[in-house]
C-alpha cells in the first residue's frame, strides 16, 4: 500500500544489529564487522528463514507431548494422580474458578499455539513474498516476541508446586515429563521469534534481485 521504503541493504549499507551503527559494507557482498562495536555485520540474519522454520517445527513437535503427558504427579497416601495441563484447566473450571481456568488456558494452550501460528504465517509471507499490510505484520511480530516470556507460567507453577508441596507422606508433588516438553515449546518459540529477521518483512516489497543469503 505504501511505496517501498528505501532499506539500508538497498542503499548499499549495512546496519549493526548490536549497536545500530550504519556503515558501508566491506565489500558489496561481504558486510564485514562493525567499525564501532566490532560485532559481525549481516545484511540480513544468517539463514533466518531456515532457522526459524526448524525451531518452529521442533516447538510444534514438542507441543504434542507437552499437552498429552502429565506435567505434575501428585502422591497422597491413598492414591497417585498424574495431571496434564488440560486436567488442571478442567479441574479449575469444575471448581468454579473459570477466570483462573481461562488464564491458564490462554497462557498455556492458546499463546504457545498462537506464537507458532504467527511465526509460521510470517515465514510464509516472507517466503512467498505476499504483499500486504506490513505494519500489521510487524505488530504481530512484536507481539509474538513480547508475549514469549510469559508462557513459562506453567513451568513456574510446577516448579513452585514441587518445591512447596512436600508434606510427606501425606501429599507430595513431582514434576512429570510433560513439563519438560512444555518448557521446550516455550524456549523454542522464543528462540524462533529471536531468529526471525523482521527486516525481511520490509524486503517483500522490494524486487527479488538482492543478493542476501537466506
Amino acid at each position: 500500500m505504501s511505496s517501498p521504503a528505501l532499506t539500508s541493504q538497498k542503499a548499499g549499507l549495512v546496519r549493526c544489529e548490536t549497536c545500530g551503527l550504519l556503515s558501508k559494507p566491506f565489500r558489496p557482498n561481504i558486510p564485514g564487522y562493525c567499525p564501532r562495536c566490532g560485532y559481525r555485520l549481516f545484511f540480513r540474519r544468517h539463514k533466518t528463514i531456515q532457522y526459524t522454520w526448524a525451531l518452529i517445527i521442533a516447538a510444534a513437535i514438542c507441543y504434542i507431548p507437552a499437552n498429552v503427558l502429565p506435567v505434575l504427579t501428585r502422591m497422597t497416601i491413598t492414591y497417585t494422580k498424574e495431571d496434564t495441563i488440560i486436567d488442571g484447566i478442567l479441574a479449575l473450571y469444575l471448581e468454579g474458578s473459570w477466570h483462573l481456568a481461562l488464564i491458564v488456558l490462554i497462557a498455556s494452550i492458546i499463546i504457545p499455539i498462537a506464537k507458532l501460528v504467527a511465526l509460521a504465517y510470517l515465514l510464509c509471507i516472507v517466503q512467498f513474498r505476499s504483499r500486504g499490510a506490513n505494519i500489521d505484520r510487524m505488530r504481530l511480530y512484536r507481539l509474538t516476541d513480547f508475549v514469549g516470556r510469559w508462557s513459562m507460567l506453567d513451568v513456574f507453577v510446577v516448579t513452585f508446586a514441587v518445591a512447596l508441596v512436600q508434606l510427606q507422606p501425606f501429599l507430595t508433588a513431582k514434576p512429570a515429563p510433560g513439563v519438560l516438553f512444555f518448557a521446550a515449546v516455550v524456549v523454542l518459540t522464543m528462540l524462533a521469534a529471536k531468529t526471525f529477521d523482521p527486516r525481511l518483512i520490509w524486503d517483500i516489497d522490494t524486487t527479488r534481485e538482492d543478493g542476501n543469503d537466506r
Partner: protein, 549 residues
C-alpha cells in the same frame, strides 16, 4: 520496476567456476529432529508399556470410582479403574480398568476380582486399610493359561486365596445350623481353619459345607475323621456334677465345627482334598461307633402299635441291638385284614461280637447269613419280639426280644430278603406275668402262722365278751330305762306344740309355703338361664345380647 543505474553491464552477473551452492540444510534442523526423536521415543515407550484394558462386571459399584480405585494384587497396585458405567441392560455395573503391562500375564481365565471394603464380622475384621485408602479392587491370580479381558467380579472376597497353604474338605449336613462363612474349625480346641463356602446339594436335601484347613493341620484330617457342630454349649449333669463344655467363646457366639479321629479307629490314612464327610450334630453322635452292617427284618403285630415310632430301639436283654425303621399298616389279601407292620434294622456287629459266637473274622460278621443263623438258633429256643412300654407317661414303646421257651415252634422263612421274625402279644404276656407274680406272692403267705394267731385272737375275744356280760350289761340296762323316760317327755312336748307348728293356718306353715314358692320360681329362672346359655354360649363372656325387633 526497472533499475535506473548508470552502469550498463556492471549488473550482468559473472559466471562462476563452480556450480552455485544448493540451499544447504543448516545444523539448526538437528533441533526439530531431536525433538521429534524424543517425542516419538516417549510415545513409543508409552505405547509399549501400555497394559491391557479389561472390563469387570459387578453387581454394584459401591466405593469404586474412576481414576481413584486401584486394583491390587498382594497389596501391589497393578492397575487403576478408568471408567465406571452401567451395563447395557442397567442391571449391573461395568468397570473398565487399565492394568499395568507387568501384570498382563496375570489376567487369566479364572482370575478373580472383588471389591475390598472394611468388613466387620463376628469372626474378624478385614479390609481396615481401606478406611484410609478407600476401597480397592482385590485381585487373585488364577491357574488358567488363556488370557482374557472381560471378567465377572465377585460379590464377596474369595474365602481362600489360591496361594494360601492348606486343603479343603466338604461336609454334608442336613441343615446349616448357625454356621456361616468364616465360622471357625477346631481341632483339639485349636482354630485350624474355617468355613469358606456352603451351598445346597444338587438334590436340595442337604447342605454342602466347604471347610478350609490350614497347612500343617490339614494332615490331621484322615479318612476316619469325624466332624461335628461345636456350636453352643454342651451341658451335662452326671455323677461328677454339672459339666459345661464349649470350644471357645467365639464358637459359642457364631458356631463352629470341630473334628477329631474317634479313639477306636485303628487304621487310618490321611484324607484326600475335597473328601466328603458327614457333619454330625454333636460330639457324642460323631464319635459313636458306626454300625457297618445292617440287616433288616419285619415284624407283624396283632395288636396296637400306638407309641411306636421309627428310631425306637430294639433291645435284647436290655441292650440296644437295632432300631425301628418304619411303622405302617399292611393289608393282606388272604384274610382281607390289615395289621401293623414294623420294619426293624439290626446291627449284628453289636450282638455278634458280644455274643462271642464262633464267628471269628470280620467278614463273617459282616454277613447277613451269620446274623440269620444266629437268630435262627435263638428263635428255635423261643426268641420272640414283643412290644414294651418304654415310658408310661409319654406312651413311648419299643421292641424287645425275649425268650419264651414254652411258645410253640414257628417257621421263619430265612431265605427271604427281609425275614419275618415271630412276635408275641404283649398284653397276654403281661397278664400272665402279673398272675404269675400274684400266685408267687400268695404262695409266700404264711397260712399256718396266721391260723395260730387267729386262734389266739379268738380266745382273747372270748374272755372280753364274758367280761362284758358280767360288768357292763347291768349298767347298760339302767341307761336304757332312763332313755325311755326322756323320749316319753319329749313326745308330750311335741303334742302340745302341734297346734302352733303343724296346723294349716299355723304361721310357720305359711312361711314355709311362701319359701317353697320362692324356691320354685328361682328354679324356673335357673332353667330359663341354662336354656338361654345353651343357645347363646357366648353370653357367658359377652353378656346378654339385647334382642332387636
Amino acid at each position: 520496476m526497472e533499475m535506473t543505474d548508470n552502469n550498463d553491464f556492471s549488473q550482468i552477473p559473472q559466471a562462476t567456476p563452480e556450480p552455485r551452492k544448493r540451499i544447504m540444510f543448516s545444523v539448526v534442523w538437528i533441533i526439530p529432529i531431536l525433538a521429534a526423536v524424543v517425542a516419538l521415543g516417549i510415545a513409543i515407550d508409552r505405547f509399549l508399556s501400555e497394559g491391557p484394558t479389561i472390563t469387570i462386571v459387578f453387581k454394584t459399584a459401591e466405593g469404586v470410582e474412576a481414576g481413584k480405585t486401584f486394583i491390587k494384587y498382594k497389596d501391589v497396585n497393578i492397575g487403576q479403574v478408568t471408567k465406571v458405567k452401567l451395563s447395557k441392560d442397567y442391571h449391573k455395573v461395568v468397570i473398565t480398568a487399565k492394568i499395568d503391562k507387568s501384570a498382563e500375564g496375570l489376567l487369566v481365565d479364572d482370575a478373580k476380582f472383588w471389591v475390598v471394603q472394611p468388613r466387620v464380622t463376628l469372626s474378624g475384621v478385614s479390609g481396615i486399610s481401606t478406611l484410609l485408602s478407600g476401597n480397592y479392587i482385590g485381585f487373585e491370580a488364577g491357574k488358567g493359561s488363556t488370557l482374557r479381558n472381560d471378567f465377572q467380579g465377585l460379590d464377596i472376597p474369595p474365602a481362600v486365596m489360591e496361594t494360601e497353604p492348606g486343603r479343603q474338605f466338604i461336609l454334608q449336613a442336613p441343615t446349616l445350623g448357625s454356621l456361616g462363612i468364616g465360622s471357625p474349625l477346631y481341632y483339639r480346641q485349636l482354630n485350624v481353619g474355617r468355613v469358606v463356602a456352603y451351598d445346597l446339594s444338587k438334590d436340595g436335601k442337604s447342605v454342602m459345607i466347604r471347610v478350609f484347613v490350614n497347612k500343617p493341620y490339614d494332615s490331621y484330617v484322615t479318612e476316619e475323621t469325624r466332624f461335628w457342630q461345636s456350636s453352643g454349649l454342651d451341658v451335662s449333669l452326671g455323677a461328677n456334677g454339672l459339666t459345661v463344655k464349649t470350644q471357645s467363646v467365639l464358637s459359642l457366639l457364631i458356631g463352629g465345627i470341630a473334628f477329631e479321629v474317634p479313639p477306636f479307629v485303628k487304621e487310618d490314612r490321611p484324607a484326600e482334598a475335597n473328601a466328603i464327610y458327614n457333619l454330625y450334630a454333636d460330639k457324642a453322635t460323631a464319635m459313636a461307633q458306626e454300625d457297618g452292617v445292617i440287616v433288616n427284618y419285619v415284624l407283624y403285630f396283632d395288636e396296637s402299635v400306638h407309641g411306636l415310632v421309627p428310631s425306637a430301639p430294639v433291645t435284647l436283654h436290655g441292650l440296644s441291638i437295632g432300631e425301628v425303621t418304619a411303622v405302617g399298616l399292611e393289608y393282606s389279601e388272604a384274610n382281607a385284614d390289615t395289621r401293623p407292620r414294623v420294619d426293624i434294622a439290626l446291627y449284628p456287629e453289636r450282638f455278634l461280637k458280644r455274643a462271642q459266637l464262633s464267628l471269628h473274622t470280620t467278614d463273617q460278621i459282616r454277613n447277613r447269613n451269620a446274623c440269620n443263623t444266629f437268630l435262627r438258633r435263638l428263635v428255635s429256643r423261643g426268641l420272640r419280639a414283643q412290644l414294651r412300654s418304654g415310658n408310661l407317661l409319654l406312651g413311648q414303646r419299643f421292641i424287645t426280644f425275649e425268650f419264651f421257651p414254652k411258645s410253640a415252634p414257628i417257621h421263619v422263612d430265612w431265605s427271604h430278603e427281609t425275614p419275618t421274625l415271630p412276635v408275641t402279644a404283649s398284653g397276654l404276656v403281661d397278664l400272665e406275668a402279673k398272675v404269675n407274680t400274684i400266685l408267687v406272692k400268695m404262695e409266700k403267705i404264711p397260712y399256718t402262722e396266721i391260723g395260730e394267731e387267729l386262734k389266739l385272737a379268738l380266745k382273747y375275744m372270748n374272755e372280753t365278751v364274758k367280761k362284758l356280760g358280767e360288768d357292763i350289761l347291768p349298767e347298760a340296762k339302767q341307761t336304757m330305762t332312763d332313755l325311755r323316760r326322756a323320749i316319753a317327755a319329749a313326745e308330750k312336748i311335741l303334742q302340745s306344740g302341734e297346734q302352733n307348728l303343724v296346723g294349716t293356718d299355723a304361721p310357720a306353715q305359711q312361711e314355709l309355703r311362701e319359701a317353697l314358692r320362692e324356691i320354685a320360681r328361682a328354679a324356673r329362672a335357673v332353667s330359663v338361664f341354662t336354656e338361654y346359655l345353651e343357645q347363646n354360649p357366648s353370653a357367658l363372656i359377652r353378656g346378654k345380647i339385647p334382642k332387636n325387633p
